[in-house]
Every structure is written in C-alpha cells, then in structure tokens.
Symmetry: C2
Subunit: 187 residues, 2 copies
Amino acid sequence: MKAAIRTGRLAKKPLPLGEVYRLLEPGPVVLLTTARGPRVNVMPMSWLTMMEFEPPLIGAVVSNRNYSFGMLQASRECVLNIPTVSLLKQAVACGNCSGRTVDKFAAYGLTPVPASRVAAPLVAECPVNLECRVVDTRFVPKYNLFVLEVVRAWTDGRKRRLETFHHMGMGRFLVGGRTVTVPSRMP
Amino acid sequence: MKAAIRTGRLAKKPLPLGEVYRLLEPGPVVLLTTARGPRVNVMPMSWLTMMEFEPPLIGAVVSNRNYSFGMLQASRECVLNIPTVSLLKQAVACGNCSGRTVDKFAAYGLTPVPASRVAAPLVAECPVNLECRVVDTRFVPKYNLFVLEVVRAWTDGRKRRLETFHHMGMGRFLVGGRTVTVPSRMP
C-alpha cells in the first residue's frame, strides 16, 4: 500500500543521542516505520534492547513473517517512534493487520512525515522519533535480530513524563504510572 | 565474595515457558544472578529483549566491565529474577557496587536459594525467577550480547499485577501503574 509522506515541518527538536537509552530502557511499545520505494509501513513492536549508549545501538527482533521484515532488510533503515497511551488503540490495530493489504497510516489516522536521515517516515503523532540505520545483519538469519544505530533523534520537547505503554501479551498493557528516583551512580 | 545458597524449598510453582514473554516484554529491571564455583553474584540490568516465544530465547547485554560478565561467560548459566518495587532500593544498591568486593546478597538482605537446573541461585524475594542457559555467544565479543534460553521458570503464583520497575536512567524509574486491555489477536 502506498501512503503519502506529508511534507512540512514538525515542531520537534533534536534529542541528544546519549539520552536515547532513557526512553527505550523502560521497555515501551514502539511503532516501527519502514519504507521501500513508494511503499511505507508501520507496525508495533516490543522486542528491543539497548546495546550501546552512544552512538546508541539497539537490538530489534522483527519476525520474518511481518511485511516490515522485508522492507527493513531491503532498505536497511527505519524509524522507531514512541507512542503514548492516547495512541494505544491505533497501535494495536496496526499490529492486527498487515501492510501487505492495508495502508495503516490512512486506515488508523497516523501521519507519516519525512525523516532527516532515512527514507522511512516519522509518525507525527508520536512525541519521540528515532531515525535508525541497520548496521549488522549477522543475527538476522537465525534470530531475526537487526542491530540498529540511532543516527538522529527527535522529541517534542514538552516537559512531562511520557505516558508510554508496555506490552504484557494478549492485548494487555501496562501504562506507566508514577516515577520514583533513587540516588544512583549508574547512567 | 562468597555467599551461601540457602537450602530449603521455595513456595513457588512452575511458570509455563510460553508465558515468559508476558513478563519480560514490558521491560522490567531484572536481577541477574550468576555463580562460579563457590562465588555468586547479583546485578540489576535492563538491556534485555525477547527473541523467541518458546522455548523462550532472550538477548541480554552484560557489559564486560561487570563482574557478572566473567561469571556468565565461564558458567554459561544464570537466573533472571524479576523484582517488584519493594526491592527498588536494594536493586539500585546492587548496581552501585561490584561483586568483586561486596557480597551483595549479605549486604542488601537478598536470599540466594538453589535453582533446579542451573548453578546460579534464585533470589527468594523476587516473585518471578527464570533459570537460563547461554545458548549463543557469537555476539559477545562485539556487543556483549548473550543469547539465553529459559529452561525453567518460577512464579509465586499470587494473582495480582506485579508492580515492576523500569529504568529511565540516572536513578529514575517508572513504576507500573494501571493496566489496560484492548482486544487483540496478537500474542
């Protein structure tokens, strides 16, 4: 399915790459966007881990049954978009159909806007967007594990905790509640 | 440091291996326990991802600067223990010192008890314990990424949501709040 990428400027500012881990370590659902020629796609995923602080490396498992797998493998680029709970229903809907047959951006009211360093679009409705390049595919044949490097990161810069959601299986999600801070020397 | 592993039975029951992903996908901090000869250690970590549902495979990044790295590499076994928020201070304390010089179990009031399939101990205070074997070390030299297979899983079986905590960096943690359920066909 073809979805047009909207032009125009996003009201976002760069996020320092060294701060990316703070957003991904808590384990939020992310929306993975990919592009291949005129086609774009978006799927929710949770199988991610940080692998290095800076430049940020991320291990991402994308099943080879997913339409996004082929697009990621061919383009070697993607965007990880972090949604908040107001996008929960759209995220689940994106996970319950395939980009082979559905233009999910149009179907679920998500807005693809151009990224700066990769062809895959940013999801405008997500407050954080991480533009990534695939830097290692050696674990793809056996585990579907792509190593991604974040090359550019965006945030809407609003000072509030992001109310991320975290997948517990079978449509159940944990929604971030309070935060607590304990003195620590660890990054 | 040497810490004795307490004998005696834990009041826990096996957790079906196919349900492990539901506990790890939301991204909780886990306590990694390792053993090497008479030595045992425990450290908190967040750099984990599910890689396969069943048998459950987990990608775990353990820095080669950590004492646990050598123990994990040599023993090829570990336990991932999922703590709840009542253990937050102990978990942070375990991350701010090294097993090279501190018996963290004794120092922070954690109880090591024998696992069934691996030499590394379970942390009695954690409601979930996942006994793991290292099944692939090819990404260790470059990324410190161990592929773990969960060979036995334990839960205290109490029917309540686990109030896990999720690392946001610099001593800040997200504590799971409400859960929401959305109809979904996805596991």
